[in-house]
Subunit: 138 residues, 4 copies
Amino acid sequence: MQKHTFELELKVRDYECDIQGIVNNAVYQNYLEHTRHEFLIAAGSDFAGLNNEGINPVVYRIEIDYKYSLKSGDDFISVLNFEKQGNLKLIFNQEIYRKQDKKLIVKAKVIVVVLENSKPVKPDFIIEKLENYRKSIQ
Amino acid sequence: MQKHTFELELKVRDYECDIQGIVNNAVYQNYLEHTRHEFLIAAGSDFAGLNNEGINPVVYRIEIDYKYSLKSGDDFISVLNFEKQGNLKLIFNQEIYRKQDKKLIVKAKVIVVVLENSKPVKPDFIIEKLENYRKSIQ
Amino acid sequence: MQKHTFELELKVRDYECDIQGIVNNAVYQNYLEHTRHEFLIAAGSDFAGLNNEGINPVVYRIEIDYKYSLKSGDDFISVLNFEKQGNLKLIFNQEIYRKQDKKLIVKAKVIVVVLENSKPVKPDFIIEKLENYRKSIQ
Amino acid sequence: MQKHTFELELKVRDYECDIQGIVNNAVYQNYLEHTRHEFLIAAGSDFAGLNNEGINPVVYRIEIDYKYSLKSGDDFISVLNFEKQGNLKLIFNQEIYRKQDKKLIVKAKVIVVVLENSKPVKPDFIIEKLENYRKSIQ
């Protein structure tokens, strides 16, 4: 694990596991989303608050590589870095590691655009907060 | 909040909230289940392990009183006490409190029976562990 | 199965099943909620629309008896009847049956109150629609 | 909408919608998975059955483009085509369309590998069934 802008430690819950006894694929998207939202809060914004102001960060595209499975009881660390792409896109590079041995479980690239009244806007006001957070932890 | 046999602190995740902006009713059952399973682990057993041995604790009946709603970002404390009822039933009295002001959110009574090869068995081997845990924290 | 005011046929989805290979307890609450909301639509109202008007039907208490489990691939029928209780409460008596053999899976009593600006109001305008629906199918 | 190997019609359930009033991103993965599993059943196999035999189709990589959102009450059509890639990979090209106007909601590429005792095996025995199904509907 390299250095990351944001890290969140979580634990698998049994209801997130499926017939195969492992965390269901869709649940990782929950983990990834929760990590981004917690990062937003850490950076001084929040998803529900933005939503109330008519500002909706939405996922435009997601790519997830499933490397290994989490099981019942596993602790894991969900990390992210971000970068700007062009004028409108915000890219989150996210990874999930099993805590006990730092094994890479999931690697994801999440492209987010910000909508205001359903139209894409430059996400600079959000990026500024995220960058300030990044500087503050260096 | 009175003294409880087991307490778990958790935080609402945005994907658990619904159109009304509050945690969906069914999600509290996830919280309640996760609390019981974490209690089982704390007491030296675990749900997935029991399942592998063909021993399945199952919910026989649940009663939930919804007192107030959790919202995006809320921290909460999920607590439980337990008692035996008759020969076959194990009762979990569970409550969820909002952390900031100890407001009661949900109160539940969960009746569990233990199945082995699909037939109810006396849950004494589980109860012994739970009781030992209760004594150990007093 | 007796005659019911509303019936909805659904099918178990694999992601709804847990480590035990059966539908997770909390998922039945999803089924029960979806059935009530579909009933509301059939009766000429709808949950999202009410929500937009600041009218929020909320579950006040739920009691669920788990009789038997649904498994991967099972078709099931979710049924409901309703009645008024006092001035403020609306009671849904709901049951879920496995389709192939009409085996009772879950029996639930769901007490709903209707909030307007967070305060309980008489749900007569909703009940009138539900009763008209009931008359229309007799 | 072009011709597809398999189509499944579904309806948004209110508990699948989040604070923004739209279907949560992770839920589309549930829809996509359910469509693949129903296709497997239509082709004469099934996920839970394979799992019991120690054969586990697992998602190796998923790419999802989110084009537009589904809302409460929307009917939608989930479609798929499949192709083989190399010796070990099975690719599902999946799309979700809103029913009323055939608007494209989500486009996904899902790469699946088949594990037997945790090791990748040639998925030819599954592909043969899927191809027979495809021929049967032409």
